[in-house]
Symmetry: C2
Subunit: 303 residues, 2 copies
């Protein structure tokens, strides 16, 4: 009944005798507890978050539902091992496009060991975290029935510059996401925009992060999900934001999570710019040629 | 005509043959150019900021007016040296209370040398920058005609914990700021609150930082100023916010300054809590005893 997930874009992956998460056919995502203190830290977070009555419901929906821990036959054949049983975010999704974005210019908490800080610091500097306040950690973008998904390998993702990140965020909402083509941002207004879109969800999260002093979320990811086919069929875009990976969450001790908030605001700015840009061009295109619904040209924004 | 400023709380200070800023009697603050590239960087910032037409006027007022550079007799007797000629922020102020708050959990820019990064990193960790996203770098709080100012020495300020910062931010708006007394936050609603208060000004800055991608302000300070005596005489509180120290400003390259923004939001949260707390107690006190205008008790806030 348990199998390797179809839509995992980052983190340890099961298969080939390796330990990784498994999903069942009723919407559960079983994540093996990491053997060092990261496993216990993540259990502690989910337990404490679930029982904390100060988390508003409109914020709770951004977190996977927690169903406790369970001994489950591990994917690497090592027998029954403790797993977190969580909501499978992609359950029932048709060809979801997914981005895993690790938030924060720094991915280590101040209580971490010197060695660990040094390791993370090097990674944050080398990748885009330090510069952008976030980095893309994994992605798959649905292209078409024929070509399936664009899922660049880890090495390529690790080398993303600020401009690559900008491009990939545009590809995520484009009907022409193949290499070498200017992304058309066709789906920007439905996936990123609108009252239920990704930008609105990120802004809701931002508002909470401006006030909450309960947790600091180091090395935690924002998952952005959408289904382009649904947009084409004029159904909902399935645009959804979820927070995942809580092995480095620490207590906030009365201080806001300025590291997460800063990075989140930076991501929001990138997405707002894509929306502004695609709005401008949609409007322009409609004026010039009412048969065209969108057009892409370079969009320079001033500040 | 040039003299050592009366109200300097941080940075290099003139006097005793040392090089430091001087003020004249017509509202100018002359800051010697630092001899390494920090001097030229600060001149570059002021020049570029002054001529940039994308800076809105309501934001420009948060920066000291720039009157160019000039050769001026240096305070250390080394003859004529180049100085930045800036607006003297404290000109005409009567016993101003001042806080110099260095914003950002990190005070070094990504292009700095490894040695410099290491030096700043140690300092940011040891002091409150890493934890709070900002640190108090200097302060003077006016107490009374008899006792003058409370101006703790640098060593004490360098040892401020999160709780000390919270306390000092309350002392800043209290009529009883002496040691060992619970600050009464008498002036919180006039200095921090209100449409012209410090919180409103910080929120205006925050809004700009959510969008501006022109500059990244590393190691830059927010100065908060007020005049308690003016409040007592029922005049304006003179509450003012200014940004100073731009020797480590770098180009934003299309990315928001998430390091500054995160720290600014953290400071905003500290100040909002003081306001909420003092509001609650003012209301409580007025209900219980109409002769009392305020009262202080511990204020625990939930999230």
């Amino acid at each position: 009944m348990l199998k390797v997930p179809n839509h995992q874009v980052a983190g340890h992956q099961a298969g080939d005798g390796k330990l990784g998460p498994l999903v069942d056919d009723s919407g559960h995502f079983c994540k093996p507890l990491q053997s060092d203190d990261r496993g216990s830290k993540e259990v502690f977070f989910y337990t404490s978050f679930s029982s904390n009555t100060n988390i508003p419901n409109h914020i709770r929906r951004f977190f996977p539902t927690f169903h406790g821990t369970q001994l489950i036959e591990a994917s690497n054949g090592s027998g029954k091992q403790p797993h977190l049983v969580l909501q499978d975010i992609f359950f029932g999704r048709l060809n979801p496009s997914i981005m895993d974005i690790k938030i924060g210019s720094r991915t280590w908490d101040p209580e971490a060991s010197e060695d660990y800080i040094q390791k993370c610091f090097m990674k944050d500097t080398k990748r885009s975290s330090l510069a952008l306040g976030f980095r893309i950690d994994g992605l798959q973008i649905y292209e078409s029935e024929g070509s399936g998904f664009w899922k660049p390998d880890r090495q390529l993702i690790h080398e993303f510059t600020a401009e690559d990140v900008r491009l990939v965020l545009r590809k995520f909402v484009s009907s022409n996401s193949s290499a070498g083509v200017d992304p058309d941002c066709t789906f920007a207004s439905t996936v990123y925009g609108g009252s239920g879109g990704i930008l609105a969800q990120l802004l809701e999260l931002k508002e909470w992060f401006e006030h909450q002093t309960i947790f600091h979320f180091y090395s935690c990811s924002v998952l952005m999900v959408c289904e382009k086919e649904s947009v084409v069929k004029e159904m909902s875009s399935g645009a959804e934001v979820k927070l995942v990976d809580f092995a480095h969450v620490v207590e906030g001790k009365g201080i806001i999570d300025h590291n997460f908030l800063g990075g989140l605001c930076s991501l929001i700015k990138f997405i707002s710019e894509i929306l502004t840009c695609s709005d401008v061009h949609t409007a322009k295109a409609s004026l010039q040629d009412p048969r065209k619904n969108y057009i892409y040209t370079n969009c320079d924004t001033d500040n």
